[in-house]
Amino acid sequence: MKDLSPSARTMIDEARRSLRPTDGDRRRIADALARSAATGAGPRLPQLVDAGEPADSAETPSRRRTVVVMTAVAVVLGLAAMAMMWWGPMGLRVWAASASPEDAAAYESRSPAPEGSAVEREPPPTRSPATPQVEPALVEAEVPEVPEVPEAEVPTEVLPEEPAEVATTGSARARAGRPSRPAAGGLAAELALLERARAAMSSGRHGEVVRLVKRYRAAHPKGSFSEEAAALRVLALCESKRQGAQKAALAFAKRYPASLTMPRIRASCDL
């Protein structure tokens, strides 16, 4: 098959870069998802929810409920954090760094390419060089919770290496195959710790949450996710009925009155 002309290819590349949601789009969707997860609400287009399911899905309703419950906390906190990231210049900077296209590149690089891609594409694509098969470079959430390791032992190879200066689309940047630059700012380490705390929270290991947040604060006194860390700590204290929980919750409410986690904190802490 005849390949596309350079100008056609250029237009596709430009379209790929420019057709993307605005920050407002992303914020609305993240907010809606956080609400859906928090309330167990269904899809916004009610008829659509099963359309993505395979016809022979073995998922049972009870399993679905379990999954929803298990992930609700992580989703609410995670999406709340994301929504917060989109608010304000600082948030945008954090987003650009934390959700850098290298995340996508890293994840995709450890995953097999879609079957047959780069092999049977016709003609041979010049824009999608084979991504190197390297070790996982993402998924802070899956850093093992136990045994605990000091920050210094967080393996650097599992952390995103390059903060993005511009939040271009992940796939476009990933395809570009740019070389990585050294890490900057320790944002990945922050995220790794926070994800561990979140994982501990969703598993009900409240003591571990409090310890991890303490470590987070010690390691990142001016961290980008201080609010999320504080929210996790307060939730852990409240849900484990620890002394001083309500006082901590009130302090959180005073400091972060607009936090997206406030509804959950109010419910857990009887505010």
Partner: protein, 178 residues
């Protein structure tokens, strides 16, 4: 116990919804738009894609491509949307003013002209060619992957791709001639 903890020793690390969202919301949004979901329902379809992703993440095989997996979910939801809503929306559009698409005018203007032109071209393709063209050229899926995802013969994939490419070249030539 977190489901992601199961089999951690043996299996590659699984993504969380948050990671999936961060990495792919732009891709899902673009694909949803290019496959023909109108602006008024774009948010809702993207939202629903990630609800399905959330529900199915425990079943995701981390040895596979996350992007490919999410692309398949997106494609299925968009097809379902189009079947369920598009006809009704078209009818409504005849009698109602356009729905507010949320964006400030400046945001819409700011979107690059090339992107808009490309979207316009894609909208003009028939449904069958649009799907193959977008999945192959924009989302970088292989012809075989598209055939598997859509259930059409791989030769048909190439036929549609070839036809769409020819149309696209004519569109580019006409644009450059102006």
């Amino acid at each position: 116990m977190s489901s992601s903890a199961i089999g951690r020793e043996q299996r590659p690390l699984a993504p969380t919804l948050e990671v999936a969202y961060r990495m792919h919301v732009d891709d899902v949004w673009r694909l949803t738009r290019l496959l023909g979901v109108d602006d008024a329902h774009l948010d809702d379809v993207v939202h629903d894609v990630f609800l399905v992703v959330q529900r199915r993440l425990p079943d995701f095989d981390p040895t596979r491509s996350l992007k490919h997996w999410i692309t398949g979910i997106t494609r299925n939801l968009v097809m379902h949307y189009r079947r369920s809503f598009a006809r009704r929306t078209k009818r409504l559009a005849l009698v109602q003013p356009a729905v507010d698409t949320h964006d400030a005018p400046d945001d819409r203007v700011a979107r690059a002209e090339a992107g808009q032109a490309f979207a316009t071209f894609v909208e003009g393709l028939d449904d069958a060619k649009r799907e193959v063209f977008v999945l192959f050229e924009v989302e970088d899926l292989s012809a075989r992957a598209i055939a598997e995802m859509t259930g059409i013969n791989i030769n048909t994939v190439f036929t549609r791709l070839r036809a769409a490419r020819e149309q696209f070249e004519r569109f580019i030539a006409a644009r450059e001639a102006v």
